[in-house]
Symmetry: C2
């Protein structure tokens, strides 16, 4: 190994060949210090010729700045996360940083070891996309060690977590989704929520209830189910709810992934979507365009959230956060597709 | 920043509090050198009490061993890659390594800069999951610098790329998929291939042709289309092929993602899958279970490929590769779901 590794020139090699000190080479390569134009050119030529490549791990130590950011998420195979990871990755690259990703669902300790090992050594800052799983206290411990932490996706702009975050208005998203069903004439609107009642989707759930009340419809716990944020849970919970409440003509599902489960559940239950049952949800992940029928959903500003998270983290890392602890993002908006339609009066009266 | 950073104890702090030299602390923490049991215990107690955390970037330099591996892939939002990334990530973690992922589709230079910056500095070894996009010559340049490179997914065990790789038998996968259609009585079997004829899916394509010939069916270029490996391309190409060859009763699609496009294309074309058209493909990504109908496909050993890639890379990094340049994996196998059925004789004669 070591022999082969010698194929790459070091700063010392470049210094020797250029007849200058290693410090001069270092200054030239990093654009620092005072070096004559002639020396600068010679050093760069030699570095090019000898195949010098900077060792980023070494540079990180010298500059006390790691070229990586850490991103913690639930599980990369939940289709929202690859989309968010890609957007975060591209935003980080624009600032010359690479991402170290942790799939906390698959860590026995929920990512604690990752946070401890990576925060402040392999990565100078941490983005947390799954704040639902990591206790805020745990994140605060990392902050105390001087490692900036940003909660990338916070759902309740009015209830700041006490850690810098980028927020979208999940209550508005829930309202917009439910108002769309109401405008289509639906009154019997059930809810499948991808978290406990007071969990991560509570804002979306409140938006659903607010929209019902705003239209003079009394929300009923009997029409609501609290599940988990997965395809399977969306499927099973929808079957159970449809059995219990056969007169529902529409469903609000708090997230696309369980909504895709709900779509297939409705079909397996013998219902035609949207003729017999309208389904609407929140997020707008790519698979929402590809289901049959494609899913009507309320799009959240995924790319904006990702790039603002990276910018906020970098600002905190350079000490210029401007004291903003909650960065807001654009209002979610309805994307109308095939899974919602005007209420089918005949079906309703027949039920 | 620096003031806050002092909250974390350094080796020097621990040494001071324990009344030993920094070298002794370092030896204890890394399990090296000769230290008395009493001293060892005291150092560990102090390190724990003072909140010492190793700086992995520093350790990487000292031990000439980075705690990260690089993984290059096409794009994380292609659903195969999150599944492969997760499996690779878990395999890497078992060996105490984190992954740095590069989405080459989104790099203007196809990932060259990532390879140059990360290979040998932030990561000691590179896994390449998308060898179709990165020229083998480019990878060889990295090898020449002494950085081990492994092609994670090589499709043609009989044609080694000259770089260590983990291979699955893509020709067998194509044969198994097509043989399944033939067993169901289909004779008019078209092909939608997610690469050029001589591109990354050429093994799968050859398997398709071999199976046809084995059953006495003469392959016809008029029944074949070469597309790209995306949902959209699968959709568009299938529409075009169905228009040109309305008598096809079955389709072999070389990969699940374009096959999901083909499923929706057939439905939009007015065909019932599987009654009017059977569709089979290769890989078995999670979304293949969720389409309507769910997709019959030939499963490739994704997790085995991921873990063998990591093991091969680590073996190369420690100089114990055993000279094996192609590591083989289990034979792909058919996963029968709803998108294939016996040929519909009536439909065929009507056409």
């Amino acid at each position: 190994m070591d022999k082969k590794r010698d194929a790459a020139a070091t700063i010392k090699d470049v210094a020797e060949h250029a007849g200058v000190s290693p410090m001069t080479v270092s200054n030239v390569l990093r654009g620092k210090g005072r070096v004559s134009e002639e020396t600068r050119r010679r050093v760069l030529e030699v570095a090019e010729r000898e195949g010098y490549r900077p060792n980023l791990a070494a540079r990180a130590l010298v500059e006390r700045k790691a070229p990586t950011l850490a991103l913690m998420l639930g599980c990369i195979t939940n289709p929202f996360y690859p989309e968010f990871t890609l957007a975060t990755n591209l935003a980080a690259l624009r600032h010359g940083r690479y991402l170290l990703v942790c799939n906390t669902d698959h860590e026995q300790d929920g990512g604690t070891r990752f946070l401890e090992e990576v925060g402040g050594s392999l990565a100078d800052g941490v983005l947390v996309a799954n704040h639902g799983d990591l206790a805020v206290e745990q994140l605060r411990e990392v902050e105390v060690r001087g490692i900036p932490v940003v909660i990338s996706i916070w759902e309740l702009p009015d209830e700041p977590p006490g850690i810098p975050c980028v927020a979208f208005d999940s209550k508005a998203a829930g309202r917009i989704a439910t108002a769309h069903l109401i405008e289509l004439g639906h009154r019997r609107i059930g809810a499948v929520i991808g978290s406990p009642k007071t969990g991560i989707h509570r804002g979306r759930y409140r938006g659903y209830r607010d929209a019902l009340r705003g239209a003079g419809i009394r929300p009923s716990a009997a029409d609501e189910r609290f599940a988990s944020d997965s395809y399977e849970s969306g499927y099973d919970t929808t079957i159970e709810l449809l059995k219990a409440r056969p007169d529902l003509t529409a469903l609000f599902v708090s997230n696309d992934l369980p909504a895709l489960g709900a779509l297939n559940a409705a079909a397996d239950f013998g219902l035609d979507v949207p003729r017999d049952l309208s389904i609407v949800s929140i997020t707008d992940i790519e698979p929402a365009q590809r289901s049959r029928p494609p899913l009507t959903t309320v799009a959240i500003p995924t790319e904006e959230i990702a790039s603002k998270s990276v910018e906020l983290l970098l600002a905190l890392m350079s000490g210029h956060s401007g004291g903003k602890s909650v960065v807001e993002t654009s209002t979610p908006f309805l994307v109308k597709r095939g899974s919602t339609a005007p209420v089918n009066k005949r079906a309703t009266s027949a039920a």
